[in-house]
Symmetry: C2
Subunit: 412 residues, 2 copies
């Protein structure tokens, strides 16, 4: 059994579940007999290079502290977006970076290295594994996925996605309620995150299989966007009711590859001013107002999609904790250079198992919404898509509040 | 004791608590011996003129149904923005409108009329009361306030405001967590509703007295906005930390009266394109990027502020129910032409009592954030402001969920 200390870092964009995974890693490492101190690196690999580390066992000594950590959104250790050089680089500065990194790790007697992040972060895990092996460093290096985008390969879904999906499905149902109060013709366009893959935008439709109402249309970045079809869709919806609500991905593009947010094919192009002014929702809002002459507005769900810690999915948080703990258990049994993944069991009942896979298969790969989840008209998701999504948003985490606000764990 | 039927309507913009007040009116009316059928008008006075009414006793026959109604955001009966003509108008069409309205009410044997709305809706209540008195119609007409804006006169606060404030305070604390993960210099501008009064924007600061963190600055529409002071504020914040977060009201104006969202005094004015492109947050985001050359982004909290039924204040919902019920009780005792109001008792402990006041004192009047709640630098709210706000967001309503989403009551 490999004895020594462990270190864990967080990297990439924040989610509402990344600290739940951190809590899982801490629990697993504190429980492992072969692991001594459990360090946390501040701001990922970037902070590690500056030797900014904390003792997580001291900071989160009780189960109560860990529960607060679980419900805290955004990376409690801080994050970074540093890309490591190739592990076999012959460049002097690159070699020095790796040498220094492993010197710091050696100084802390680290034998277990955990990195929680998206596919850029898994690139870091892959490179460190290659370097360590080449240099003969005895260290177990394991990645744990997180991303609200749900676009990682090899895994059925990603930790953090379920909570974002729950927020989006719920907020969309509330926006639909809000839009339904007047009888005036109006189009409301809700812009949702996910530049390449449409998983988050698809989640806005879950209400359909829960309470029977969902946006009239859902446009994913997996399909090219056509302005005439969009107008024709809205006309059809107006035949049914005056309040039309559509969900659009921030990453929608026209057939020629231009982002919808950059400009449109309609006559209002000139009105956009500078490019950075118009997001996808705003661009479509202006086009609709111009084309139909009706009330139009856009809502960008923005940062709350990834940090709404007050509305997290119990399923997501429990799985996120479990995958963190499983990472430690896997490392203790001897694996390295792997990423932990979720596998959904076959059958009607939702059962999710945790496994590991080679980290090289997940780094820098995007998993898109498959064809069978998108309707033939390219303007909505199928019921089977909603059924895939539904188990991931189920259950409500019992948030601890103080004076009317959720309590957060903060590492100074 | 005046015997007959009751009718209730909802009017103006949606809130997350307006249905809680409806539930209170329904409970009060069903319990009153002198009241027979409890009607609901669809889309307020506008739907009433089209005789679109429902029997609320039948729709919400059980306490379970009423509980679901309480947690449903946005006006379940639908809303309208109709302004009634003067009750003493000599115009033929105006006279006909009043005649027809009271004919419909007489046909339903209405003796109790309740209208839930903001100050435009209280104008409706005032006019109907004057007309009824003049015409010798025996009818008790009572207004019940609602608005997320908290800007009504005579009342300590408004039903619906506490839930919006809780959503804003919580979401702001989550955004601050999200912004804190990187070490890169960045300014995040959060735009909050409230065109004239800054109560909602002020709520973003509540975290300061709960968990010690809140936006660096809070700019209210009660003060004119100065671009140079704003830049200087941000410079000071950068001396303390790299992640600056500010809250701004959508209604901010420069000293010359122009809205900040219409254009700025900085050199980027030309970049705005058409006026409707830039909200206050977006305009300031562009100005900051230009001035500091740093990362800048804006988040518009938008519709969820008023319809986030999943995060409602228990205090607000309980008070909203109670003021609805109290309206019925007041009407039964004989008052008319009044609006129900909240009075906060003196003393440290928060105690809120319900009273009634002449509706003429509330219609068309705006209550602003007072001077003692705004700091001398005009860039934040005082602790006493936070202490006024805090009791209103306390407590969490036990939301009923089904399959991961809150259940809503829908009147078809």
């Amino acid at each position: 059994m490999l004895k020594g200390n462990a270190i864990v870092g967080q990297s990439g964009g924040p989610t509402a579940a990344i600290n739940a995974t951190l809590a899982g890693v801490i629990r697993g490492a504190l429980a492992a007999e072969c692991i001594g101190t459990v360090y946390g690196m501040r701001n990922g690999i970037e902070g590690l290079l500056e030797e900014r580390v904390v003792d997580l066992g001291k900071l989160f000594g009780s189960e109560d502290d860990l529960k607060i950590l679980e419900q805290t959104p955004a990376a409690a250790l801080g994050s970074c977006r540093k890309k490591l050089p190739k592990p076999d680089s012959e460049d002097g500065a690159d070699k020095e970076l790796y040498r220094r990194l492993f010197e710091i790790l050696e100084g802390l007697n680290i034998r277990y290295f955990f990195y929680i992040g998206g596919n850029d972060s898994m690139d870091t895990v892959a490179k460190l594994s290659v370097y360590a092996e080449k240099a003969g460093v005895e260290m177990r290096i394991v990645g744990v996925p997180k991303t609200i985008d749900n676009d990682l390969a090899l895994t059925d879904h990603t930790p953090g996605f379920g909570s974002a999906a729950k927020y989006i499905a719920t907020t969309m149902s509330e926006i639909i309620r809000d839009c339904s109060v007047y009888k005036v013709k109006a189009v409301t366009i809700v812009e949702i995150m996910g530049r390449d893959a449409g998983w988050l935008t698809a989640s806005s439709a879950i209400g359909r299989v829960v309470n029977g109402f969902s946006p009239d249309y859902v446009y994913l970045p997996e399909r090219s966007f056509d302005m005439e079809s969009f107008y024709s869709d809205i006309e059809k919806a107006f035949e049914k009711h005056p309040n039309v609500v559509v969900a659009v991905s921030e990453g929608l593009r026209f057939a020629d590859g231009r982002y919808v947010g950059e400009g449109t094919q309609s006559g209002v192009t000139d009105a956009f001013g500078h490019k950075y002014l118009a997001g996808t929702g705003k661009a479509l809002e202006m086009s609709v107002r111009e084309h139909f002459g009706c009330k139009a507005r856009s809502v960008e769900l923005n940062l709350p999609q990834r940090c709404a810690g007050h509305l997290i999915s119990l399923t997501d948080i429990e799985e996120s904790v479990k995958i963190g703990r499983s990472a430690v258990e896997a490392a203790v049994t001897g694996v390295s250079g792997v990423v932990m993944v979720f596998r959904r069991a076959e059958g009607e009942k939702y059962v999710c198992e945790i496994d590991s896979a080679s980290v090289r298969g997940i780094a820098n790969v995007t998993r898109y919404v498959p064809d069978e989840f998108i309707t033939e008209d390219n303007n909505n998701v199928t019921d089977s898509c909603c059924e895939y999504l539904l188990p991931l948003i189920k259950g409500e985490y019992p948030i601890k509040y103080r004076d009317g606000m959720p309590v957060h764990a903060i590492i100074e």
